[in-house]
Every structure is written in structure tokens, then in C-alpha cells.
Symmetry: C2
Subunit: 538 residues, 2 copies
């Protein structure tokens, strides 16, 4: 079996059979499973998949919010030696069809709510009504698996002998061009899950609340981190802040993951109050601002800032901003600049580099000056296997023997890295490279420190003279909305003044548009492509 | 680099350069190194080894108590892509010579105190006086390495490309027959170190006190667990209980490892007192008794009972007695029986089995009845590579595709294993299999629960009628020694009475000898071979 994340579940079911493994308390039909019961369900799923004709290496698609079926699939599909292909439920039907076709999924496990996404598809599917009751088609599927097993148990299921066999196949959300499929391995998932459990200090006393969708890069490998650590998991179908707070206050939650936008929603919810026991928030997707960090810490949430790619090219997080003793002597503002860095590699990752890749594929590290910009590259344990059925993109992504993240960063003298921008988020303004991230929340800027601003996103917009110029989309903090109501022009003027003293000319937004909310992906990442589209239309 | 435990040190030096990595406070010349300084020393060592002609795969022997040189070698020898061969300092010169010859060690790093062990050998050696001062030959060796490096740093050292390359070569202490060399891999050391760090909850706030010698199975991989977790390590040349207590009380110690006999020494030391902050004791080598567990817990030491082989065939510990919630409702006596089990596999190990291996190599698991005895077998991530230069022993040890531990055990209904005995420790008394362990501390017995007994060891002794009969060697608890002084016969009679009501005839010791102390290995394991020899002579 070697390095296979399925092992963690089997072990948990052996050692802590009666501990709560999975709870789904907010659905119409709440369910709670112990590790023994849950492992049996997962075993049933594996037998059912095999009975349905799934062969090793086949793809099984799952279209579901966070739910027991989704959690089952993370383990059961691997137990059938198949590849889990979770599909983002916010995609459009044509995108879903493309992914089903490209992955060649043999079967779809689908939550009833999302059936419209596969309307017209002939592919075999199992529908889940998320009831856990015996007349639910998904439950019938599991029961059939149990019968088919003839009580042969785990011993009756062949173990995948190759630790480098495929584990997950996740697709880009198609913000640019056609979605690409990222294929990960069992071994990488195993090591990333251990890394995340260790970095988050998850253990058997922990309760992990699912806010991040599991379809998003396989939930950053936390489905397996939690079984590794014997933690209890709580699933919720939706991101509902009052419900999250109910669990924070009453369900002994100790850990959750989320992008900064989700964290903002959490701290700003009216139910928010000071926690009596601290909760660890694993934050990725963008760097948290000083304001957000202060708000989180103020209510007893301990932020752990990690970094990885949106897709599981790096299995979710693989670097972290490691806190230092001297931070305790700093002001929040000073400290937040350090926390906001992407930091250093996880123990189970291979060292991350920031480098320039020459045309002859020679890799030249940037100096550790905190200034020179290079691309984040890495290799080794926590790097995907390939872009599925796309040898050309794979070769390109791995040129020089390293995986190229597409993220631009600097390396500080202490070896920590700090993302400057996605390559495509650089704004070439009058021949200068303006980093949209620096404009949004950089050191000298920045628009987010304006006291009335909630969120900012900056994109390039074509300019007749300068080629490109920054355009900012801004939301006003709820507390100050009424103040500026009907006087948005004045607010923009105020913000421009604020920017003038903080940003050099080429980096200063030429245009500012106040919007009620920023367009976001299902995981709370700001959709810059959408903003670029809007900017282009103006 | 992939799964190479050297990575942990490099990472610690990057992320926490100024944190104390290693302290050696009790030597004549105390030293303290930060991670940055220590990593530089280790780099120097690697360069010096290469300069001395060490090639990838060569063996570098180390003969040293726990000291900075010993700690350096755990990382520096791997950085030179060589195989670390630590030699037990308690061996006799002829045993040391045998090991040096068999391993073909190219170089010996030796602590000055142990020079007599290699008298007459022509092998190149570097002597360490454990002073850390510039005129120490070992320090000169490091300085030469630094010069030789020409400041090329880590980048100038080739990285071992094969994660299955040899890491450590450790020899049996030769209690039976000629010593065998156990060769481990980089990958296995990496995974075992992570497993130990996670099971012990070692993190960057931890301080690990070295009591277990590092030469013993590579200190159960804790040299790398500590760098993985960024923990501070304290080395001591000797096992000195008052000194251990000094560190417990004043050096913020959080973790240490030791066999039960060492733990007994710790709790019985006059300096022992209730700790204000708990310390975790990782216990292996034999199961702790109820009495010992009670004594440890009473002074604030949290016992973590793990199991592995004496040699690193399993890299030290690979199973653990996982505590259950319902244990808190039990009496110490009830609980200690469960803690004393060897339990379940570590997450990074593959599942342990208890089985009978038929002549045709077919493996038949014992039923989970807590009664049927089989051999502990395992395979996968935490199993050695081979017996060095001994293909025959390797083939025998791995028959049927599993590593055969030689330890006999039962499996309980909950899947936890409990060691019954080493195969050679079974006493065949009147055709019955009597387990010496069961006689010593079994469920129904047991001699150790006699209130005046400190330690017991039972071995087979030839008997004209029954073939073999158990013979017990006993030490009296210091508090009761005076009471029985001059009346040992009476004590023996008393103990025999005690045994009569608790042990069936064939398992009852036929002979009891009271001794001032039991013969032990350097790591505190009772030398049954020595006791058997004594019993044979009587």
C-alpha cells in the first residue's frame, strides 16, 4: 500500500471506531457517522463502483456541494483504485460537459440539486438526495455494493500497488481558455495531507468545519489530513455565515480553511463574537490584510497563512508564513506584512525557488533582496503528476525539471517568498510593471488601508497613451455605506487623494468604480477575468 | 531530494536560523548552537568527509556517547551521501572490530573516551575531545571542510537522487551469534521521523532531552523528528538521573525517550518531584508496568507507549498504544493493561499483522481473540532495506514478502497487538508454552505486582523432568531492601506463595534468585542471554 491516503481512514476505523468521523447536521436529514460506520459506507461505495464496471485508473466524477457523498467519494473512489474527478458546482453546463468529455468520466456521482448541470448527458450517474435514508438512490447504490461484496470486507478489494497512480483529477474553472485537468498522485496526496495536518496542528481532539468546497483542489487535501489525524469533520452544503458561527460556538470547531474573502464574511457577520476557545483558520487564495488579521485575532481566530496553487498542481498549500518569536514585539501592522508573505516550504514539500527561467531552460534564482521579481517554481513530493491528456501543456509547465507556478514573487533575505502577482495580473503601465497586488495591498500603497474600503481589486485597462493603466473596483465597508450613499463620486475622489500620496504615477488607478460586491469564484477568489471583461467594455 | 531527512535540517536553518537547535550543557566545555550555526557545522562536516575521500554509499562509523559530534554525524554523514554506522559504545573491542570490518567503514568519528575500543585498528579516524574549541581535532576537521568548500555552501554538495539509498547501518549488539547489520533507507528514515514527531506532538516549542543513546537504532529517528519539528535538542554524555532532573526542572524539557528501566531510574531518583509542566516520555523496549505508569503520571510525566524492534529493522517505533476516551473512567490497573499493549501502527507505517507463516510461506493471520499467538510481521514504508552483506538472512527475514520481527504477539478484538514474547523467550515447560513476559507482568500473574519487587526477569532453565522450567531473577525495591536484609530465603518463600495463587503450575518459577541488579544493555534492556547463561551454570 505504501504512500496511499486511503490508509489513514482504515487506520482511524481500526483505532477509533466509535469516534465521530463525519457529521452533516444542517441538512433536512442530518446524519452522523462514526469512523467504523463511515469506513463501512466507503467500502460499500468502492464495491459498488467496481460492480458498476469501474476499473483501476477510470475517472469517477463527483458534482456535489460539501456533503457526506462528497466526503465518501474522496476515499471510496480511491478504494476502487479509480481517479476522483470533482467538478465545481458553479460552472456552466457546457463547461461541465467539456470536463466530463475530456476526463472521460465513466460514472457521475451527483447531488440532486445539480442535475441541471448534466442535462442532456448520456453518462451513467448516481443521484444523491442527501438524505441518508434507505430510499435515497445513493444509499441504494451503497447497499448494492455491500451485497456485492459478499462480506469480503477490505480484504476483498485490491490494493493499488503503485503509489504514483492517479488520485485526483481537478479542472481549472476555465477563466482563461479551455479548462485544463490537473492529475495528482496517491503519494503526493498522502504527503500533502500529512503536511497540512502537521502545519495546522490537527489531532484527534480536533473538529474541522468544512467551509472550503471539497471540489476545490480536493479541499486542499484536508479530507485526508483529517483522517490522518483522527479529527471529526462537519460538512455544510453552503457557506452560510450565521450557520458557521453556530458551529463555532456550539460544535467545538477547532479548524477550518478559507480564502480571505470568506474570512471577511466570517468576521463581519452579526453573529460574530469573541470565542472562548481559539479556532485555527487556514487561509490561502490571497494574502490576508492587516485589517483582516486584526479582526480575526480580535475574536480569537488564529490565522495560519499558507500558499499553494488554486488547482492542485501543488496539492493546495505547500508553503507557510512561519511565525517568529520576535513578531510578538511588533505592532499588528508590522506583523501583518510578515504574515502576508507566502513564507517557506512545508516539510513534506521540496524547497520552493523564485527564479528566472532563461530561454535555454537555465534556472537563475533571484537574489534574496525582497525586490527582484521571479517566478515561483518547485518540484518533488508536492507537485502534480501531469496535465491530463495534455502532454504539450505538461512539458511547458515542467520545463527545466521544475513546475512553473505562473505566480510572480520576490525572495526576502530570510528566504521567505512573497507573491507579487500572477504573471497575467501585472499591469504594463507606460512601460513600467505595476503589480495589481501591490496597488491593492502592497507595502507603500495601499487602497485597502483606506478606512472605508472593504475590498479592492485592480486590473489592467487599455489606455491610448500608456498602453495599460490600473483600474480599481472597490466595495465600501458596510459600516460606511450610508455615509457615502448618493455621494460615490466624492468617495472616489477621496480615495484618489489617498492613492496619490501612496502610489507612484504609473501604479495609481486611472479609474475607480464602486461596486456593491466583487465577482468571485465559488471559493471566494476574486474573478479578475470578469473585472477585466467589465473594464474592457467601459 | 524527495524523501530525505536531511531536508528537515536545511529547512529549520532557513526558517528558524536563530533558534537554539542543539545544546550540550553538562560537558566540561558546554556549547550551544542555533540552527544556522549548527547547519553550517554539518555542512562543514559533509565537505570534510568528501575531502577525506568518502564517496556516496561509503560507511562512516561513529563511536560516541550523545554529544554534538554524534548529533552532527546524523545529518552530516547523510549530506556527504554516505551511510552512518553508529557503534554501541558498550561493546567489547573485538565486537567493534568485527563491525568495522563487516561494514567496511572508511572512516571513524570517535569520541576520545572510546579510543581503547579501536586500539590496534589501522582505520582512519577523527578524534573528538568534545570541547568545541578550535584545538579539538574534530573541530579542526570541520574547519578544514569549510576551507575545502570554498564557500560553495549547500549548493556545492550533490544531493542524493535516490530516496531508497542507504541511510543508517546499525549492528545487533551480538547477544546471540555474530552481529548483523541493519541497513535503512533515506525514505524510511524520513517517514519514521515524521511519524515519531506527530505521535509525540513535538513542535517548535518543544525541547527534547537525549537520554536514549543516538547509537541505538539511530535514536529511534528522533534526531530527524526534532529537526522536522524545529525542536531544541539537549545532549548529555551519560545517563545521570540527578542531571536529568536538573534539566526536567530547569531546561524546559518537553520530551524524552527511554526504556522502562530508564523510566524506573527517573521516577525513583531522590531529585524526582512533581512537575509543574507535563513532560512526554516516549517509552519502548518493553511494556511499562502499572506501577511504573502510576509513578510517571503521579509526577506529571505523560507516558506514550510505542513499540518497535531493538534494531532499526522498523526504524525504532512503528506502533503505539493509542489512548481511548473510555480509559479515563478506568482504574490505573485496568488502564495500564491497555497501555501496555503494543497497539496499532503509526500512520506512516503499513498495517502490522500477527500471523503464522506456514512452511509454504503462506501467511495466516491469527484470529482477533487476544489468545492465539503469532509472529508480528510488517512491510512497507517503515521496514529496513536489508541485512547488510547478508542476502541469506535478508531472504529469511523477508519470506512471504513481509519482514518477520521474531516477536510473538496476540491480536485483540480491537485490532491492537500485544507482545507475548520474543520467540526465544518462550519457556517450554512440560510441553506447555510458558511466556516469560506473562510470568513477569501478565494479566493473571504477575510477579511485578508483588509490592516489594522492583524488577523481575524470567528465563528458561533446563529441568530433568519438565524439559524446561521458569527461573526468576528478582531485585527488591530499595524501600524494602532493609526489611529483607539477611532474610532473602524468606522473601523468596513469600514471593513463591504470591506466585502460587496467580500462575498455573507450568508457568510458576521453579527457582527464584534475588540479585542486587539485573544485567542490562546500554539502552536499559534486560540481558536475558546473560541470565540464561547464569541459570545454565547453577
Amino acid at each position: 500500500m505504501l504512500q496511499n491516503p486511503l490508509l489513514f481512514l482504515l487506520r482511524a476505523a481500526q483505532i477509533y471506531p466509535d469516534k465521530i468521523a463525519l457529521a452533516h447536521p444542517d441538512a433536512k436529514y442530518p446524519v452522523v457517522y462514526t469512523f467504523a460506520v463511515w469506513a463501512q459506507r466507503i467500502q460499500n461505495l468502492a464495491y459498488s463502483l467496481i460492480r458498476a464496471g469501474i476499473k483501476p485508473g477510470d475517472r469517477v466524477a463527483v458534482i456535489s456541494p460539501n456533503s457526506p457523498m462528497m466526503a465518501d467519494a474522496c476515499h471510496g473512489v480511491l478504494a476502487a483504485r479509480a481517479i476522483l474527478t470533482p467538478i465545481n458546482t458553479r460552472l456552466k453546463p457546457q463547461e461541465v460537459h467539456y470536463i466530463l468529455d475530456h476526463s472521460g468520466a465513466s460514472l457521475i456521482l451527483i447531488d440532486e440539486e445539480y442535475l441541471p448541470l448534466i442535462a442532456g448527458s448520456e453518462r451513467p450517474r448516481i443521484v444523491c438526495k442527501d438524505t441518508g435514508t434507505s430510499d435515497d438512490p445513493y444509499e441504494e447504490f451503497l447497499s448494492d455494493g455491500r451485497c456485492y461484496s459478499q462480506e469480503r470486507g477490505w480484504a476483498g478489494l485490491d490494493v493499488e500497488p503503485d503509489e504514483n497512480a492517479g488520485a485526483l483529477l481537478c479542472y481549472t474553472s476555465g477563466t482563461t481558455g479551455r479548462p485544463k485537468g490537473v492529475l495528482t498522485t496517491l503519494r503526493g496526496t498522502y504527503l500533502a495531507a500529512i503536511g497540512n495536518a502537521f502545519e495546522g496542528r490537527i489531532d484527534k481532539e480536533s473538529t474541522y468545519l468544512w467551509i472550503l468546497p471539497m471540489f476545490h483542489a480536493g479541499g486542499w487535501t484536508f479530507p485526508w489530513s483529517n483522517t490522518f489525524a483522527f479529527a471529526t469533520q462537519i460538512t455544510q452544503r453552503t457557506v452560510n455565515y450565521p450557520q458557521i458561527w453556530k458551529h463555532f460556538l456550539h460544535s467545538k470547531v477547532t479548524h477550518y480553511c478559507g480564502a480571505p474573502t470568506v474570512q471577511i464574511g466570517i468576521v463581519n457577520d452579526p453573529s460574530a463574537k469573541k470565542l472562548t476557545k481559539p479556532i485555527s483558520a487556514i487561509i490561502a487564495g490571497a494574502a490576508p490584510t492587516a485589517h483582516l488579521l486584526g479582526a480575526l485575532e480580535g475574536i480569537g481566530i488564529k490565522p495560519i497563512h499558507v500558499y499553494g496553487l488554486t488547482l492542485p498542481q501543488t496539492y493546495g498549500p505547500f508553503t507557510r508564513g512561519y511565525d517568529q518569536l520576535f513578531w510578538t514585539k511588533m505592532t499588528l501592522e508590522q506583523r501583518s506584512k510578515l504574515i502576508a508573505r507566502q513564507g517557506h516550504s512545508f516539510a513534506t514539500a521540496e524547497g520552493v525557488r523564485v527564479a528566472e527561467i532563461r530561454d535555454d531552460d537555465q534556472i537563475v534564482d533571484v537574489p534574496r533582496d525582497g525586490k527582484t521579481v521571479g517566478e515561483i517554481i518547485t518540484r518533488g513530493n508536492l507537485v502534480m503528476k501531469e496535465y491530463f491528456r495534455d502532454p504539450e501543456a505538461t512539458t511547458k509547465a515542467f520545463r527545466g525539471g521544475y513546475f512553473h507556478s505562473g505566480d510572480l514573487a520576490v525572495m526576502h533575505p530570510d528566504g521567505s517568498i512573497a507573491v507579487v502577482d500572477r504573471s497575467k495580473d501585472i499591469i504594463i503601465s507606460g512601460g513600467e510593471n505595476a503589480s495589481s497586488l501591490a496597488i491593492e495591498q502592497g507595502k507603500h500603497s495601499c487602497l485597502t488601508i483606506h478606512p472605508h474600503v472593504l475590498e479592492v481589486s485592480v486590473v489592467a485597462r487599455a489606455h491610448p497613451v500608456w498602453g495599460e493603466r490600473p483600474m480599481a473596483f472597490v466595495t465600501i465597508h458596510p459600516e460606511h455605506v450610508s455615509r457615502w450613499s448618493g455621494r460615490l463620486d466624492e468617495f472616489v475622489k477621496n480615495l484618489m487623494e489617498h492613492a496619490k500620496t501612496r502610489l507612484s504615477g504609473f501604479a495609481r488607478p486611472e479609474w475607480v468604480e464602486v461596486v456593491p460586491e466583487l465577482p468571485k469564484t465559488s471559493t471566494g477568489k476574486i474573478l479578475k477575468t470578469e473585472l477585466r471583461r467589465r473594464a474592457a467594455k467601459l
